[in-house]
């Protein structure tokens, strides 16, 4: 090739990137005779490797690397769908969401939303499970923080509960689901070969305590209370709202017993980093 006919660096890089990231591969995506000729004009064959096969190594590597990244972040979803369906989902995701970051730490962040767009019988369940698994990834990357002391709530004067707001720890996520995905995830972790579950609403908190990651299932009333607290609703108001609902359903007595258990457990688990007494 003469210097005059050789493409400039920018042009060459744009061409090479388009070929090596083509979802259908170098052969499938670029085998029109003209494009194949271009590849063989721009790339020198090795002693035992054709130019097309050499470029295909980069194309294979691109998808293998990103599928592996998604599999690492979504092991339960990969199990739930099976290797083939998950790989197909991942490759479609990669085609729609090319990485624009220098780091792969957040590459899979859109997978739950992407699952919802798929016209598959498992789409809604997959989206829920992906949200749970992504919350685990997010929490890993949140900083550790000081936790509220276990006796902290007891030290708040009764008059201040009207305005006291609990400050959530950064490594905490409250998630509501249409499927019991935390149970599914636990069964997967325990290698109990879970089947795709029936639809049933659930709520889970994902949180960090020191280096360890935890998941805590919440009953609906506890989830409502925690949701209010995380939204900076003052303690007394959040509790009063829940009590009003319980009176309507005739479960006030039970709530009186459960409330201190929930709050104690959440404080003990480091859900909060402090109390703001306005």
């Amino acid at each position: 090739m003469t210097a005059a006919s050789a493409p400039g660096l920018r042009q060459l890089q744009r061409w090479f990137a388009s070929v090596t990231t083509h979802p259908e591969g170098v052969l499938e995506g670029r085998l029109s005779a003209r494009r194949s000729q271009k590849l063989e004009r721009l790339v020198t064959p090795g002693p035992r490797l054709s130019a097309i096969d050499g470029v295909q190594i980069y194309n294979d590597g691109y998808f293998v690397r990103l599928v592996e990244c998604l599999t690492d972040d979504y092991p339960a979803l990969s199990y739930a769908l099976g290797e083939e369906a998950f790989s197909e989902l991942a490759r479609a995701y990669i085609a729609q969401h090319p990485s624009r970051s220098r780091s792969l730490n957040a590459y899979g962040q859109h997978l739950a939303a992407f699952c919802r767009t798929r016209a598959e019988p498992w789409s809604a369940f997959a989206a829920d499970l992906a949200r749970l698994e992504w919350a685990l990834v997010e929490v890993v990357h949140e900083p550790a923080s000081e936790s509220l002391r276990p006796d902290a709530l007891a030290t708040i004067p009764a008059a201040r509960w009207q305005t006291a707001r609990l400050l959530p720890s950064p490594g905490l996520r409250l998630l509501g689901f249409d499927y019991p995905v935390n149970d599914f995830f636990q069964a997967f972790r325990d290698e109990r070969a879970p089947q795709l579950p029936e639809r049933a609403p659930s709520a889970t908190v994902v949180y960090r305590q020191g280096p360890a990651l935890w998941r805590m299932g919440l009953e609906p009333r506890a989830a409502l209370l925690l949701k209010d607290l995380l939204a900076s609703v003052p303690l007394a108001i959040a509790i009063a709202t829940l009590e009003a609902r319980s009176q309507a359903t005739g479960t006030s007595e039970e709530l009186t017993r459960l409330l201190p258990q929930w709050l104690g457990s959440w404080v003990q688990s480091g859900f909060f980093r402090g109390v703001e007494l306005a």
């Binding site: 003469t2 660096l9 990137a17 490797l49 470029v55 990485s99 970051s101 220098r102 990357h141 960090r208």
Partner: protein
């Protein structure tokens, strides 16, 4: 003022052409004065638990820079603990120094902050590009060995070094294709970039072996052409040989021909710390460490060129 100190502390600016062509001092300080750290191991997440529980006697670790960027959480907490016990160096895979996209100053700011946080002895990345048009392939893509690419890359290395206020250390990647119509050989390109930009070399002898097989050149001739006084660090690793070609998979023990290239590099004057990379089918840490320690056998067998 160090050679890499910026002219101002403001926003980075392009390096004037005359600076680019200002040749390095004729008296090259071996490894830029960086310490000889000994035999190291590439830190991998699968070994965190073993290392944090057993604190094995390892000379030093190389950490993958991007694993500790875009995070404020656990990865940094672990790295902080390791930095208290071991010498660390940073090895990146996304600088994309040869790309025609603009340099990513947010990335560089985070890279510099990470280096300061953990006191890494040096920062390395690859002589390649990883993406273009704002997309990252997360692969080490080959550059054409042309004068245009050489000057473009050397200019960017200078800019990065000025910003980091430290020499950048560039690794020769493995490659599976070469572009047609390129007048330079890979070793000429590497030598040209590091000399024009006054940067260091991370000599990966496994990559030399893999590329030599894929492109049919003599790996020893490659080594003989390099300015060994610029070699700051050496990588060894395993690869997968498919007969028609080899792929840099970092799997398994280091094959003998790669160890022999390490010994040859040492003969030619590369007196630099050696690090083992193991990235696929990773065994327990003790196995990886024992494999890395084999480097001592090969380094002990030869005298350094020019040494008394």
């Amino acid at each position: 003022m160090s050679r890499f100190a910026p002219d101002s502390r403001g926003n980075p600016t392009a390096v004037p052409a005359q600076l680019l062509f200002e040749r390095a001092s004729k008296i090259m300080i071996e490894r830029f004065g960086f310490p000889h750290l000994g035999i190291g191991v590439g830190l991998r997440t699968t070994h965190y638990r073993e290392i944090l529980e057993q604190w094995p006697a390892v000379d030093w670790f190389e950490v993958l820079s991007e694993n500790f960027m875009h995070t404020r959480g656990r990865p940094l907490e672990i790295l902080d603990q390791l930095a208290e016990h071991y010498p660390l160096v940073m090895h990146g895979v996304s600088l994309s120094i040869g790309s025609t996209d603009p340099l990513d100053w947010d990335y560089l700011r985070e890279l510099k902050a990470l280096r300061e946080r953990i006191g890494a002895h040096w920062v390395s990345d690859h002589l390649c590009w990883t993406g273009v048009a704002s997309r990252n392939t997360h692969d080490l893509l080959p550059l054409p060995f042309t004068e245009e690419a050489l000057l473009h890359t050397a200019r960017r290395v200078r800019e990065v070094q000025n910003f980091l206020e430290a020499p950048l250390v560039l690794e020769n990647p493995s490659s599976y294709v070469e572009f047609a119509g390129t007048p330079l050989k890979e070793w000429e390109f590497l030598k040209g970039v590091v000399e024009l930009s006054d940067s260091g070399i991370l000599l990966d002898v496994n990559n030399v072996y893999v590329s030599a097989k894929n492109h049919g050149f003599d790996p020893e001739a490659y080594l003989a052409a390099l300015p060994m006084d610029r070699v700051v660090q050496i990588h060894v690793a395993g690869h997968t040989d498919y007969g028609t070609h080899a792929i840099d998979t970092h799997v398994g023990p280091v094959p003998d021909p790669v160890w022999r290239l390490l010994a040859r590099a040492r003969e030619l004057g590369a007196n630099a710390p050696v690090l083992l990379e193991w990235d696929a089918e990773i065994p327990p840490f003790a196995v990886v460490h024992a494999e890395a320690e084999r480097a001592r056998e090969f380094l002990g067998q030869v005298a350094v060129a020019g040494a008394a």
